[in-house]
């Protein structure tokens, strides 16, 4: 599924021009949308995105056909003087996922971001379509760039396109959320830049393939690895650097939240993967990878518990994103070779990649469904969602399927990813990550159960709807959730076939039952309002005591989250993480 970028000759391969087209198309779209303006911005986006999907598919076919990474050397100048575009399996999967999700988001946004009648140009629709194209261009640049400085520019472009999406609504809270996001992201990117300077100073090139051959664990390179990794973690919002994510993702319009949650945070994650697997596999160490996975585990626990404590649906989904980001880092220690020397392209990385794709599709579907509920009710207070399932069955189905997909129910992509990573954990004897992989699903089940129970409650009298939501938007959300749930089938080709041998075996069904039960217990104990009024009565005094102590735990998590999300605390954590990762790279190196 994935191939190493190292050892690729710096000459343009057949099909290399596809990479240039994939890079130029979105940016041309931005220019066209800006110059044509008004209603044309939407038309440009609707024209360009399907075209981009075709381009990504063509690059994928070419890659499978030739069996080696596609390369385009810009202007015929070979690195280190010139720069190259490269696409390996990793890049092509991300290109395809991005184009697919953007297509669904564009279909979803048709209703919300229509120019109002009688107006030539309104700010929000015009900016939405333009920024959608800009995010796409930045992501494609990120997936295709062959050198660390182009990657830096792409990373910044992604931030500059993502930040205004946050404040599209224009309310003071969202502007503040956008500013916090921008400032913290800049702190992260300046660390990345510093690392790139150190690498250039040591080896005189920033080309990934050339660096991969040259890097050795000398002090400057170790410092660069620590700075770049942690800088990127800040942009990915991995716990404890998530201060900006919940307000930014919850405040944005649903279509924008879907893009931010599904794609933008994955951009910087992708870059961490590039650094660890392709640029400096000989520099990073297993203990440092264990640290990343430990942070990921904390993200799963804290994010899920705080999600359960939310009063508003969109904030719940935003905290769920924070938890899901944690999953993406569990892959790092599992991907090391048996001797523990270096991360290698293999089953664990395939699992991680599969996880990214399934999270991206499921999370986009979930945010879209939450946005539809908000639009229809005029609010998203979880306590007042009774009757929604009856009024908006398609939307609730989309939310439920996305939730199931995130939990890793057969045959979702997350299920297959979990299988691959469990195998890797078993093979390398890291049993503790097996516990996290299995137990994490229960935390996910917790908030999914909470929302589903809330929407399925019956309501005396009709549900007051302020707006009829567009059927097209509902179907777009449903399509994304479905594709995440059925992802395992599409991934079957490249993955060993015995993994899905008998998905309905008693063992699998038992695991699923345990996950849902565990989640229901978590939701019962930790949710802000008691989940079933009757259940509490039946449980009697003991249940009351249990519930009270669980609430204390929940409040403690909320308080901890508030402290961690303070600016000073988060930025000090950032610096300390740099030191910690650096230390683990020095002292964790195999003898």
């Amino acid at each position: 599924m994935s191939m190493s970028a190292a050892g690729i000759p710096a000459v343009t391969t057949a099909g290399g021009f596809l990479l240039v087209l994939a890079l130029v198309l979105p940016l041309l779209g931005v220019l066209a949308a800006l110059t044509l303006g008004g209603r044309n911005a939407r038309r440009v986006a609707m024209l360009a995105i399907p075209l981009g999907l075709v381009l990504a598919a063509a690059a994928g076919i070419e890659l499978m056909h030739s069996g080696q990474a596609l390369v385009y050397v810009l202007g015929g100048w070979a690195p280190p003087l010139g720069i190259a575009l490269r696409a390996d399996g990793l890049s092509v999967v991300m290109l395809l996922t991005t184009a697919l999700i953007l297509l669904a988001v564009a279909v979803y946004g048709q209703a919300d971001f229509q120019m109002p009648a009688g107006v030539d140009e309104a700010r929000a629709p015009f900016m939405f379509w333009t920024l959608l194209l800009a995010v796409w261009g930045a992501l494609n640049a990120l997936f295709l760039a062959g050198d660390l400085f182009t990657l830096y520019v792409a990373l910044e472009l992604l931030t500059f396109a993502g930040v205004p999406l946050v404040s599209l609504g224009g309310s003071p809270e969202t502007v503040q959320a956008a500013l916090r996001y921008l400032l913290f992201a800049l702190l992260g990117s300046v660390l990345y830049m510093l690392g790139a300077v150190l690498l250039y100073g040591t080896y005189g090139t920033l080309d990934i393939a050339l660096l991969a051959e040259r890097v050795r664990p000398v002090p400057a390179v170790i410092a660069a690895a620590a700075l770049m990794t942690v800088g990127l973690l800040a942009k990915t919002a991995l716990f404890p650097l998530h201060l900006w994510l919940p307000p930014a993702h919850a405040g944005a319009p649903a279509a924008a939240s879907a893009v931010l949650s599904a794609l933008v945070v994955k951009g910087s994650w992708f870059l961490v993967v590039r650094l660890w697997f392709d640029v400096m596999p000989g520099v990073v160490t297993l203990p440092a990878a264990q640290l990343l996975a430990a942070l990921g585990t904390s993200a799963i626990v804290v994010g899920s518990v705080v999600a359960l404590r939310q009063e508003r649906l969109k904030l719940l989904v935003a905290y769920s994103t924070m938890a899901q980001i944690g999953y993406l880092f569990l892959m790092f220690p599992l991907a090391f070779d048996p001797a523990g020397n270096a991360p290698v392209h293999g089953a664990a990385l395939d699992g991680g990649l599969l996880q990214v794709v399934s999270h991206a599709t499921a999370k986009a579907g979930m945010f879209m469904a939450a946005g539809l509920i908000y639009a229809a009710l005029g609010h998203d207070r979880i306590a007042d969602l009774a009757g929604v399932a009856r009024a908006m069955p398609v939307t609730v189905l989309a939310f439920a399927l996305a939730g199931l997909a995130l939990m890793g129910v057969v045959p979702s992509g997350a299920y297959l990813a979990k299988k691959l990573m469990l195998d890797a954990a078993d093979g390398s004897g890291q049993w503790w990550w097996m516990i996290v992989l299995q137990g994490g699903a229960a935390f996910t089940a917790g908030y999914v159960v909470l929302v589903l129970v809330s929407v399925m409650r019956s309501r005396p009298g009709p549900l007051p709807l302020v707006k009829r939501v567009s059927r097209l938007s509902e179907l777009a959300a449903l399509a994304l959730s479905m594709s995440s749930l059925l992802l395992a089938f599409s991934a079957l080709g490249p993955v060993p076939g015995n993994l899905l041998a008998n998905p309905f075996a008693p063992k699998e069904l038992g695991t699923l039952l345990a996950v849902v039960l565990g989640g229901a217990l978590l939701a019962l104990g930790l949710s802000r309002r008691s989940l079933f009024a009757t259940a509490q009565l039946a449980a009697g005094a003991d249940g009351g005591l249990l519930r009270r102590s669980a609430v204390v735990v929940g409040e403690a998590f909320e308080l901890a989250d508030r402290v961690i999300r303070r600016w000073q605390f988060a930025s000090m954590s950032l610096l300390m993480l740099v030191a910690l990762v650096g230390g683990l790279l020095i002292f964790g190196a195999p003898a």
């Binding site: 280190p80 003087l81 400085f149 830096y152 520019v153 910044e156 931030t159 500059f160 930040v163 205004p164 404040s167 224009g170 309310s171 003071p172 809270e173 502007v175 503040q176 956008a178 500013l179 916090r180 921008l182 400032l183 800049l186 702190l187 300046v190 830049m193 510093l194 300077v197 250039y200 100073g201 005189g204 307000p247 009063e311 802000r528 309002r529 008691s530 519930r547 009270r548 609430v551 909320e558 508030r562 999300r565 303070r566 600016w567 000073q568 930025s571 000090m572 610096l575």
Partner: protein, 109 residues
């Protein structure tokens, strides 16, 4: 101490000062300025690298200079975007603060 080391130390000092301001100063405008200070420090280090990297008869390695110019453009765009958001925030609320909103009132269980 030669010139290269001196410039390197200056760059490091700028990065340190900027990081301090970025973390400690509560005002967003000061944070934006501090970010620019960190950026300048990094660019200065890049300049030092260019001087050191001049292995051949050239006065300096030209690649870092091209990269620094791009970096300055990126930092400028970031500053412009941040200031625009700050102005908008100030127009809307009359103050410019990054403080997180107050925690919700104690919930009923």
């Amino acid at each position: 101490m030669n010139a290269v080391t001196l410039y390197g130390l200056c760059g490091a000092a700028l990065v340190g000062l900027g990081l301090y301001g970025l973390i400690v100063n509560p005002q967003p405008l000061r944070k934006i300025l501090s970010f620019n200070l960190v950026g300048s420090g990094v660019f200065l280090l890049f300049g030092v690298v260019a001087r050191r990297g001049a292995a051949f008869e050239m006065g300096g390695d030209p690649v870092p200079q091209a990269l620094v110019i791009t970096g300055i453009v990126v930092a400028f765009s970031a500053t412009a975007l941040a200031v625009a958001l700050l102005l908008r925030l100030h127009d809307a609320t009359g103050s410019a603060s990054l403080a997180a909103p107050e925690p919700p009132a104690k919930p009923d269980v």
